[in-house]
């Protein structure tokens, strides 16, 4: 595996980078909206979630990974989600003709993965797996950071 890791670079920065970015985004959120009313709970949750993802994408080296770029793009263009989706479908359909012959079992799973991993729509399966590996690493890091924050801040 070491040799494969040398070829496929899935390095992820340290947790403090994630924490820094996340806290920054949280503070930005605070600045924008005083989160007082319970009516806005869902809205706030979504905002925080989005802040978490965006900060994760930024922390993980924004442009060197496809998924982070796609995430950031998606976060910026909240209105144009439909457009994005249709473009992705077009990309997939162009590949689907070729890829149908290739190990349909793998391709089914790859399809599901593409739905999960941001930016997975336009990727080949091998590239998709690289992105998934990096994405998993970043996600687990982010989860740890958030867990620690919540534990630190939560009442006893």
């Amino acid at each position: 595996m070491a040799s494969a890791d040398k070829l496929i670079n899935t390095d992820v920065p340290e947790k403090d980078v994630f924490a820094f970015h996340f806290l920054q985004s949280l503070s930005n959120l605070r600045k924008q909206n005083p989160f007082d009313t319970p009516d806005q709970k869902n809205y706030r949750v979504r905002k925080i979630k989005k802040a978490a993802y965006v900060s994760m994408a930024r922390a993980a080296g924004g442009s060197s990974r496809l998924w982070s770029r796609a995430l950031l793009r998606r976060a910026d263009k909240d209105d144009n989600k439909i457009v994005r989706f249709s473009r992705r479908k077009w990309k997939i359909s162009s590949k689907r003709r070729r890829s149908n012959q290739r190990a349909p079992v793998v391709e089914e799973a790859a399809e599901r993965l593409r739905n999960l991993v941001p930016g997975g729509g336009g990727m080949e399966t091998s590239k998709l797996m690289e992105e998934t590996a990096h994405y998993i690493k970043c996600l687990s890091m982010q989860v740890k950071v958030m867990q620690c924050l919540v534990d630190g801040l939560s009442p006893k």
Binding site: R102, S126, M129, A133, K156
Partner: protein
């Protein structure tokens, strides 16, 4: 189909050659015409890449004393005076065959062919000039022909620019199995030459029958060549018995050489497929290490399901934690701005930062200590007495005991560098401290106790 091509080598092929004068077309004609002399050699010519084709073009054009020296005119000229050219070619190639036989006997295997010709780089770069210079003497050409044929004996789908890298390959990579070489990106031009669906196994059979059916016009030297080449593939195959596909990066071009596996199709598509599949399996192994509990699962489908479940669970965790975080944030007004503005996370200079953190820690402790005292002063009769009571002990101990979350914090982030741990500690302390200070200053009695309870 190729059988027919080779069998029909004869005068009746001019109509094919009236097709656009590409070097490949010309070479086809050449290979077909010269089949009786040296089928292996001509076959190699048939299979060579365009660069070699151009070399051979120039070589053959030099050989052929027809009034059409240029490549573009060659086929046209060939159509015209083909009989003459054919005879001349046969004669020339017969001579070459002699020399080839001699040189081939000198170089025992395809690996050890003597290479007195200039190195591949120069050959590649000055392929228009050096071949002409070399081909003025037959030995150089014969050597190259020897190499080509030897190469051809090992590989039918050869596509390399020159035989040199291929010949250098086998001694280095002794694990190779396959007598066949192809490279995926360059395959397409060859695929046009190659009738689709041909496997190398069939080709090897055809080759052996061809050599047996060698026409009587072949010189004895050509028979030697045949035998040489019959033995060569065996030798090549023996040396390449074990092992997997190898990939070597051609120094001249960016293609990746892919070796076909023994007994498998050498289709361009199937080879590309195999490359792709191996890439995928390699990455799956990488993923397997990442996802916990994937080691027991075998098989691509199940593993991929595991991976998908893991990613989904991680995303759900993020969502859940964000919900929790939002609920936590309602109770505590966090002044993140102040925290961040204090340069808690500088992007550089960890040492300085560490000092800062320590200072912050101590300051936070004192603040909290004061807080606890104030708690006692303000709210002696609060039900949280049981919580506050331990505060009567030393401040540091109460500090530690009253923040078990911090201990939990330390445990959970033990993997952190101390740097980050202290950071988060300090942040939270500062946050608490500031909160308490602010709330106390504001002085709404309702809120204060509840908040204190919450924090404690």
């Amino acid at each position: 189909m190729e059988n027919e091509l080779f069998m029909n080598a004869g005068v009746s092929h001019p109509p094919v050659m009236t097709s656009p004068s590409s070097s490949s077309a010309m070479l086809k004609w050449v290979s077909m015409e010269t089949q009786p002399v040296d089928p292996s050699l001509s076959r190699n010519l048939f299979w060579e890449k365009s660069t070699e084709q151009s070399i051979f073009d120039s070589a053959l054009s030099s050989l052929v004393s027809s009034p059409t020296p240029s490549n573009s005119n060659f086929s046209v000229g060939g159509v015209g005076g083909e009989n003459v050219i054919m005879r001349e070619l046969i004669g020339k190639l017969g001579n070459i065959g002699d020399i080839y036989g001699i040189t081939a006997s000198n170089g025992n295997s395809c690996y050890a062919t003597p290479m007195s010709s200039p190195p591949p780089g120069s050959m590649m770069e000055t392929k228009t000039t050096t071949p002409m210079a070399e081909l003025s003497g037959d030995p150089g050409f014969a050597e190259r022909a020897a190499r080509f044929s030897c190469f051809g004996s090992r590989s039918f789908n050869s596509r390399t620019n020159s035989p040199f890298p291929i010949n250098n390959e086998p001694p280095i990579t002794t694990n190779e199995k396959m007598p066949r070489v192809s490279s995926s990106p360059v395959f397409k031009p060859l695929a046009s030459h190659v009738p689709a669906g041909e496997s190398s196994g069939e080709l090897s059979r055809k080759r052996k029958t061809k050599s047996k059916q060698n026409s009587p016009s072949a010189v004895s030297s050509s028979k030697e060549i045949e035998e040489k080449e019959d033995s060569d593939p065996k030798r090549c195959k023996k040396s390449e018995e074990n092992g997997d596909k190898t990939k070597s990066i051609d120094p001249y071009k960016d293609y990746i050489h892919v070796r076909a596996r023994r007994g498998q199709a050498t289709d361009s598509h199937s080879l590309a497929e195999r490359v792709r599949r191996e890439k995928i399996s390699e990455r799956m192994k990488l993923l397997q290490d990442l996802v916990p509990g994937c080691n027991k699962v075998t098989g691509k489908a199940l593993m991929l399901d595991e991976i998908i479940n893991y990613v989904q669970s991680l995303q759900r965790q993020v969502e859940f934690l964000s919900m929790k975080l939002s609920s936590v944030n309602t109770r505590l007004d966090f002044n993140m701005d102040a925290l961040l503005s204090k340069d808690i996370f500088p992007s550089s200079n960890n040492l300085m930062h560490h000092q800062q953190v320590l200072q912050l820690d101590s300051s936070a402790e004192t603040l909290l200590g004061d807080h606890h005292n104030k708690n006692l002063q303000l709210n002696p009769d609060i039900s949280s007495n049981n919580v506050i009571n331990p505060l009567e002990t030393s401040e540091t101990r109460s500090f530690i005991s009253h923040l078990p979350t911090l201990a939990h914090f330390t445990d959970s982030i033990s993997q952190y560098s101390t740097f980050s741990e202290d950071d988060l500690h300090s942040i939270i302390h500062m946050g608490f401290a500031q909160n308490r200070l602010q709330e106390l200053n504001q002085g709404s009695s309702n809120q204060v106790p509840s908040h204190m309870k919450a924090e404690l």
